[in-house]
Symmetry: C2
């Protein structure tokens, strides 16, 4: 009667962005629970399983539904798009389970399976914008007071973080992205590169490179991630790149033209 | 004579954390280039391929080596651990290629394949710490002046970001993590949860939950990621969780005990 509840990251949307661990968990599941639109993204994997789809306002219900299926002894998967741990269902799921008295090691086993978050996916499609310090900020103010979000935007802008804006705009929520732009313009040049990526790795994907002055011009919706570069980010040949710092210290030209060892950083985190 | 150079994320270290796209690129490659220790992580995939391993100070050389193999017509993969776009080789690779005169659409095709970065991997192992706004800061000051890093630490601390510290400490670089702790203690309670995760998803993985007051006590090295919670993060039953905000607005207890629909946020980004 004990089973595993796997909180599974399905990545940005195409099946080849799932990890093997995620794919295995879904294949072995008897029950898959998720937001309807995300279940559609993994439809080829769902044959023969009980599937519990629900709508956008039912995150907590999905958590309790998944928990009950696992309690009943079924191998259960609860999915999130992107990474289940990044603005995803891992948080609400643990909150609901702990509140319901669940504890690790007693009854249901819970596993979090990480994945490719929107910021990783979008970065890959536009070049290498996240090669230096970055932050992720959700512009949705329904569960977070706007002054908190505003403070984070200010901090990110003034400390020169590359910044990924999640949930930048919805049909009802349209002013936050304009305010974010205003805050960044107070600290960064209008020519700072900005990538606006919608539905990354899906057939309908849209990828746009623009700049801070024009970042609110393209169509932006809840499937969009906006990546604002730092003061060193540049666009060249249609690619957005944030230098890691090598260019300051070493002769990139030599590196590009020579096979001799080039001195670099033993400690830089790139590998 | 034209080939693809794939910049491939191999994830935190175990093969089941690779995406299908990453695995396919490696399987189809004739040449695999990478840092020796990371090549070892994917050794079972390398049979029959030309393998170019090099050491820690040779990031730029690896980029030019990989580019030359691709120019010679070989399907080539350049690997990074974690996500190739997050403090990884995608940045230096594009910098070297652009400097060498490469342009998209001319000759070598370059593809970035995203993956599971250290912060996603570590978060999955400790609970759900990244369910709200977060930032990543590298403490390596070899390519970034320390005052820039310090400013980012200050900004992250005062604006209450969950914070992932990359490259927290090496054998030669030991003071930065202490300074980071000092900066955070000026803005957050000493009891703020901190996760210290080393070699996530590898056989030698070490996972420790501690708090801000004690975060420099555990062994920390270049394979460690340190996750500092925000003011709402909590530890319960050995899990570190950052609430998304649901708990403030809705009755989690009801959600955990009932299958009735629970009102939630149409716009929260969790799905």
């Amino acid at each position: 009667m004990t089973a595993t509840l796997s909180l599974v990251s399905i990545g940005p949307g195409s099946l080849d962005q799932l990890t093997f661990q995620a794919m295995t968990a879904i294949r072995e599941a008897e029950v898959v629970v998720g937001y309807k639109s995300y279940l559609r993204l993994i439809e080829p994997l769902l044959a023969g399983k009980a599937v519990e789809g629900s709508g956008m306002r039912q995150e907590l219900e999905r958590c309790s539904t998944a928990y009950r299926w696992a309690q009943s002894g079924k191998q259960t998967v609860l999915i999130s798009s992107g990474d289940v741990g990044v603005y995803g269902m891992a948080g609400p799921a643990y909150e609901v389970l702990l509140q319901a008295g669940w504890r690790p090691g007693s009854g249901v086993t819970v596993v979090v399976i990480p994945g490719v978050s929107a910021l990783n996916a979008c970065a890959a499609l536009v070049g290498a914008p996240l090669t230096h310090d970055f932050c992720a900020i959700s512009l949705s103010d329904l569960l977070t007071p706007w002054p908190v979000i505003q403070k984070r935007l200010e901090a990110a802008a003034q400390a020169d973080f590359v910044t990924a804006l999640y949930n930048p705009k919805s049909s009802k929520r349209t002013t936050q992205i304009v305010e974010a732009q205003r805050i960044f313009l107070a600290h960064r040049l209008p020519t700072t590169p900005v990538a606006v990526v919608t539905a990354a790795f899906r057939p309908e994907a849209r990828i746009l490179l623009t700049d801070l002055a024009h970042m609110t011009d393209p169509a932006i919706d809840m499937e969009t991630t906006v990546l604002i570069g730092n003061a060193s980010s540049f666009v060249q040949a249609g690619l957005m790149v944030t230098p890691r710092g090598y260019g300051n210290k070493y002769d990139l030209k030599t590196a590009g033209l020579s096979l001799n060892p080039v001195p670099s950083d033993p400690d830089c985190g790139a590998g």
